[in-house]
């Protein structure tokens, strides 16, 4: 009897141990789903351990794929540490939208971190205005090692850089190698990106494509010998009109010392004619990140805003938020007919709450709101009764 019991328990243990191999939950799934699609050098732990139900409900689900949560919210139910750390500082847009699967395969991949494609392919899938290669290409870019400089999830630094700009360059480029190539540089070498592109260029040494004329001619056009400092007045010598634009109610004339122009512009070279330090939205985000975050995170917002300067003056303006005109003029830059057939607007129509004329932005906020059509309040009643209380 005793032996029989031992045999029975042993058989049970063996059968239980074998069960995943022949009767586990995955097997039931694989009767319909092709097992090969879930194989790879790296397999997501729930798939490898046969626990499809960690993510999927086999019978019914609220979300596509019968998932128990939507998108990245599901990932963060297990990856709780990442849920905390990935959402601090400046957050990469896919993380912001809980779209982890844009880059990661949730089942299996041949790449570390379950990354779907090679890194460069993954990045360029969204950053599609970046070319595969340039005439002269920076080595990390060429080899697809975007992570050499950028963090894929979040960072405390603009453009998700993994370190401060100059420090980042210094990780590969030794100062003693650079010094002979920058003989007339006043003081310590710094601000590499005001001349060099970190990705690539049509020029040797990755000098950016568009050169500031005085820089192209001779450094002494702006710099006195041995001095790195150039004041606003030097810029105003040629760009006097810009200084006039800054004599406005609101302006970007602001700098602790030195030169306000170089807050946004490179004095030497740039990737486009305006010689901006980086792409426009990135330049604006250096100070106005909360506005850009609000725009990105609002459920309803004006679509197709490519650049802040579509609506805002970059240097100075006399309207709120340096808009290119009052709340009618700025919208009419694109919406030519809007004022002619909608709710009365314009100089003849006062807002009873303030006495000011009613404009598009009396009701809409293109930078994003919680309501349809970017309305400031719920549009069926709440917004209207602000003025039309009698209804």
């Amino acid at each position: 009897m005793k032996n029989s019991l031992v045999l029975f328990f042993a058989a049970t243990v063996v059968l239980c141990g074998m069960s995943p191999a022949w009767a586990g939950p995955n097997d039931a799934c694989y009767t319909c789903h092709d097992r090969d699609q879930f194989r790879g050098r790296v397999v997501h732990k729930p798939v490898g351990t046969g626990k499809c139900v960690t993510c999927h409900n086999p019978h019914v689900g609220r979300y596509r794929g019968m998932l128990s949560h939507e998108g990245g919210r599901l990932c963060f139910t297990c990856h709780t540490g990442e849920a905390e750390t990935f959402r601090t500082g400046i957050v990469h847009e896919p993380i912001n939208r809980f779209e982890c699967t844009r880059c990661h395969d949730p089942h299996a991949s041949d790449r570390n971190g379950l990354v779907r494609k090679n890194l460069k392919e993954s990045c360029l899938e969204c950053h599609e205005d970046f070319p595969e290669r340039y005439r002269f290409t920076h080595e990390p870019y060429l080899s697809g090692d975007c992570r050499a400089c950028h963090a894929p999830h979040n960072s405390e630094r603009p453009m998700l850089l993994v370190a401060d700009r100059d420090a980042l360059c210094g990780e590969c480029h030794e100062p003693e190698d650079l010094a002979p190539k920058h003989r007339n540089f006043p003081g310590t070498l710094r601000s590499c990106l005001t001349c060099h592109s970190p990705h690539g260029s049509d020029r040797k040494s990755l000098i950016r494509n568009y050169l500031h004329e005085p820089y192209a001619e001779d450094c002494s056009n702006c710099h006195e010998a041995g001095s790195g400092k150039v004041g606003v007045s030097a810029c105003a010598g040629c760009h006097g009109d810009v200084l006039e634009q800054m004599q406005a109610t609101h302006s970007h004339l602001t700098m602790q010392s030195g030169n306000a122009c170089v807050n946004c512009h490179s004095p030497h070279a740039g990737d486009e004619k305006r010689l901006l330090l980086s792409r426009e939205k990135q330049v604006c985000a250096r100070c106005h990140r909360p506005s850009i975050e609000k725009y990105k995170n609002s459920p309803y917002r004006h679509g197709s805003i490519d650049n802040c300067t579509d609506c805002h003056f970059p240097h100075g303006g006399n309207d709120m938020a340096m808009l290119k005109g009052n709340g009618l003029e700025v919208c009419a830059l694109c919406h030519e007919n809007q004022g002619k057939f909608t709710h009365p607007v314009g100089p003849e129509v006062p807002d009873p709450r303030t006495g000011r004329m009613i404009t598009c932005i009396t009701c809409h906020n293109p930078m994003g709101t919680d309501y349809k059509f970017n309305l400031l309040l719920e549009g069926k009643r709440q917004l209207c009764v602000q003025c039309h209380g009698e209804y």
Partner: protein, 318 residues
């Protein structure tokens, strides 16, 4: 017991007078409810009292399109004359209101003002106006009917006046270009300069509080307190409780009031710089903010908020 409770409820609902029952038969639910209400009130009352007690007392504005202000940018309060002066940048004019909020005068210096942004009145009766359009600290002598523009320089560079305060005699001018606070006497001779060594872009707003200067670093979200001689005494880190602070004021109790242009509200900090509460909200109706520009206390403890977007100045009191 349930029956007793039922009876008690009935008594309450009908306000029925009856002989009090013995203590043993009293319903325990009502005293318990009373205790809960008392505790809740004790917990909630302080918050409600501080957060909900600011009310609009005055609204300095014009109600017709022709008269309405366009982009008011600053307020000066004349304690002696008991008047409010509003700088209407969009319509190149200054408006004065009585302490009761009645419009007294509209002044545009014969149409010569060009983007006035801030103003003060010194003890000698002169009005000083920051004119952004001509980059000038313009002196207006009403008695002599003179308007004299002044282009300032400091340390060999042009000064771009932004905010302006006075202690009655000297003029405190915030230079937008350098973020430096410059002190001039009535003859516009530079007396002192306060530089924020730790700021990214210098100061954006400041207020005189007694003999000290409170100055705001907008981007770093910090407030620096300087003694009259320019020595840094205190630093308040506003932290994440504000998004885009544009103006500060110090209340009679020593609390710091920070106007947040993007959150459209006012965040309040105690004397030690600890965040206490916030009030006001986004909107266009009275008591709401759209694009607020400046905050200050009047001499009668009213909190004045200049709202560029809503074309008015509202005075809150509690």
């Amino acid at each position: 017991m349930l029956l007793a409770c039922k009876n008690d409820m009935r008594l309450l609902s009908h306000n029925h007078r009856s002989r009090p029952r013995s203590r043993a038969h009293r319903c325990p639910v009502i005293p318990a409810l009373a205790v809960i209400i008392l505790i809740s009130a004790a917990l909630l009352l302080p918050r409600a009292a501080v957060a909900g007690s600011w009310n609009v007392e005055l609204s300095l504005k014009r109600d017709t399109i022709e008269d309405a202000m366009l982009m008011p940018s600053a307020l000066f309060v004349d304690r002696e004359r008991e008047q409010y002066y509003v700088v209407d940048s969009g319509k190149n004019r200054l408006l004065s209101f009585s302490r009761q909020g009645d419009l007294l005068h509209v002044f545009n210096a014969g149409g010569s003002l060009k983007l006035p942004f801030d103003m003060v009145r010194t003890d000698d009766g002169k009005i000083w106006v920051v004119e952004k359009g001509r980059n000038s600290l313009t002196m207006i002598d009403l008695k002599a009917k003179k308007t004299i523009p002044n282009i300032l320089e400091s340390d060999g560079r042009a000064v771009y006046p932004h905010r302006l305060e006075t202690d009655g005699t000297d003029l405190y001018v915030l230079d937008k270009a350098s973020g430096t606070l410059l002190v001039y006497n009535g003859d516009l001779v530079e007396q002192q300069r306060i530089v924020c060594e730790k700021c990214t872009f210098g100061f954006f707003d400041f207020k005189l509080v007694g003999k000290s200067v409170w100055a705001l670093d907008r981007l770093a979200r910090k407030v620096f307190v300087y003694a009259g001689n320019g020595t840094l005494q205190q630093t308040h880190d506003l932290g994440d409780d504000v998004t885009y602070p544009v103006s500060i004021a110090v209340g009679p109790s020593g609390y710091l009031y920070v106007l947040d242009r993007h959150s459209r509200d006012v965040a309040v900090y105690d004397e030690k710089g600890a965040y206490k509460y916030r009030f006001l909200q986004f909107g266009i109706a009275s008591g709401q903010l759209y694009y607020p520009a400046e905050i200050r206390f009047d001499p009668w403890d009213g909190l004045c908020v200049v709202d560029e977007g809503n074309a008015r100045v509202e005075v809150y009191r509690r």
